[in-house]
Amino acid sequence: MRKRLLINIASALLLARWRQTLVAAVGVTFSITMFITLLSFMSGLNDLLDGLILNRTAHVRIYNDIKPNADQPINKTAKYASGHNFIGSIKSDANRQAIYNSDAIMKSLQKDSRVLGYSPKLTAQVFFNDGSIDITGSIFGINAQEETKLFHFDDYITTGNSADLNKVSNSIILGKGLADKLLVQIGDGVQITTSKGERFQLKVVGTFQSGIKDFDNVQSYASLNTVQKILSVPNDYVTSIQVKLNDIKQAPAVAKEYEKLYQTDAEDIQTANSQFETGSSIRTLISYSVGITLLIVAGFGIYNILNMMIFEKMDSIAILKATGFSGSDVKSIFIYIAISIGIFGGLMGLLFGFGLSSIIDQIPFNTVSLPTIKTYPINYNPKFYVIGIVFSFITTYFAGWFPARKASKIDPVVIIRGK
């Protein structure tokens, strides 16, 4: 009953000054709209940029690194074991780059419940022969099907079809830059020379654009078997296994575990690409601070308008107090006014924010390096909407709280005597 009465009075005061109220609400609407749009756009962009690398990067990469052996003979001598031994001119191990027991490892990965999938990979350094010119490049031997499933390989194929890698023997998909340099199209042949001097003729079945031009100038893909043939190595010869996990956050722990378990090197995505996470979090931070700044400005608008309203309504407040409304009743009335401005403005803001981001989502955005992206990226995460409405509630509450407290402290005697 009490609440309803106070809300009645609040809404009467609100409606009597609906123009002012509307201006205040528009302030909130504007800031929430911008907040939502900014965050959706920024986070869409973040996802896009992260996806550029992260989607194509394994969560855990199992490989054999080229490095000096940690167990140098001097460390095994009891006499010198306690000291720190400096060894000069140390050389890397002559161990092979292929992963030992790759078949067994893949079988055990298949049983691991944390693993979403894996894809073996083999890298061959080759020269692409174009007349008298040799272009250095590399060929990745991949399982096209797995690569597409786990790392969106298909998204970057601009011409041709990734499935042809398996269907057509001795086939290759070239980077766009590389294909342009070699002046080849689908169906043409390219000649390569391996580091051991052997020559091969491969058939082009497609080109890809990864979005990073330096990649496209030197890289190409072929099926695992083709690359094994080029390198004349056996069927189980792979230089790395790309593992994708169900939960990316587990990657560092899993990498450590695999390192021990499989006696190889394993690198997690967080270590390999830490700069991307830093970039994303800073971009997010900037968008949040801009959004919150907008809201605080809107809060000051509400504060001003309520202050003015209280100044105008001195008489009404005085008589309400004289006829039995307590200070806390008066305070509640003004807080209701502030909150209803906040909620109304906030909800409108969510609506407009959604509208504006959908419009941005329709604006064409064609860039050579990102063939799959046709419009500006937008992330419609409901989280932003929840944060938006909660923030609009909180700022308007505080913007209303100070004027409301002032109103509750008005002494009716001073007003009535002043007449």
Binding site: L5, D315, K321, S326
Partner: protein, 224 residues
């Protein structure tokens, strides 16, 4: 005779700009059904006294009893409740809320008290308006009625919770002769027909003369 309002040794000072005593050790009481006027020259402290008696001003020394209960000086929500339930106010200025119509203005204190349902409060408000002969204005916006009518609406608002006492601070001060007489007649009618207790501050001698009892003040003291 039961005492509605009793003041015991009330002293009040103004501190700004210099300490001045406005009310000096003042004691008196008002019984049920009395129609009392409080008169005196400007600045003698009669309005100040009224605000002390009305519980709105708590910065005083001494004791104030309303309906036999001593009024605390610190408990603002409790005093607000007392004003709501036991005291009706009529000021020189009507203080109606322009956002509401006449009926709603009268109903507000009743809704605040929440003793009756909304429908009942509305019914009672209509009755009060009828007593004052302005029930035809009930649905008009309060800033669309004349000055005399506004003051009558203010009286109806003071009556809505059947207060123990009605306090008036120069309720006729802003009105012409005709409307002043009408307001007096209303007060007189309330006093005689409904046994309503009234305490009215006025500097209009003709108004004061017609009341049951005159308390005359000078320099913060009551003249006998």
């Amino acid at each position: 005779m039961n005492t509605i309002l009793e003041a015991k040794n009330i002293n009040k000072f103004f501190h700004d700009p210099v300490r001045i005593q406005v009310i000096e050790d003042l004691s008196f009481s008002i019984n049920k059904g009395e129609f009392v006027s409080l008169t005196g020259k400007s600045g003698c402290g009669k309005s100040t006294l009224l605000y002390v008696l009305s519980t709105m001003d708590t910065d005083y020394d001494g004791a104030l009893f309303i309906d036999g209960e001593e009024m605390p000086k610190k408990n603002e929500p409790f005093l607000a409740k007392i004003r709501n339930e036991k005291i009706g106010f009529v000021f020189q200025f009507h203080y109606l809320l322009n956002e509401f119509n006449v009926l709603e203005n009268v109903m507000l204190p009743g809704l605040k008290l929440a003793k009756y349902s909304r429908a009942e409060v509305e019914h009672r408000a209509m009755e009060k308006l009828k007593i004052l002969g302005i029930d035809h204005l009930a649905l008009k916006k309060s800033n669309h009625v004349s000055g005399g009518e506004k003051q009558r609406v203010a009286i109806a608002r003071a009556l809505i919770n059947d207060p123990h006492i009605i306090m008036g601070d120069e309720p006729t001060g802003n009105l012409d002769k005709k409307n002043s007489d009408m307001v007096f007649d209303i007060f007189n009618q309330l006093s005689s027909e409904f046994n309503q207790t009234l305490l009215i501050v006025t500097h209009d001698p003709s108004f004061a003369e017609r009341t049951h009892r005159i308390i005359k003040m000078e320099d913060g003291k009551i003249l006998k």
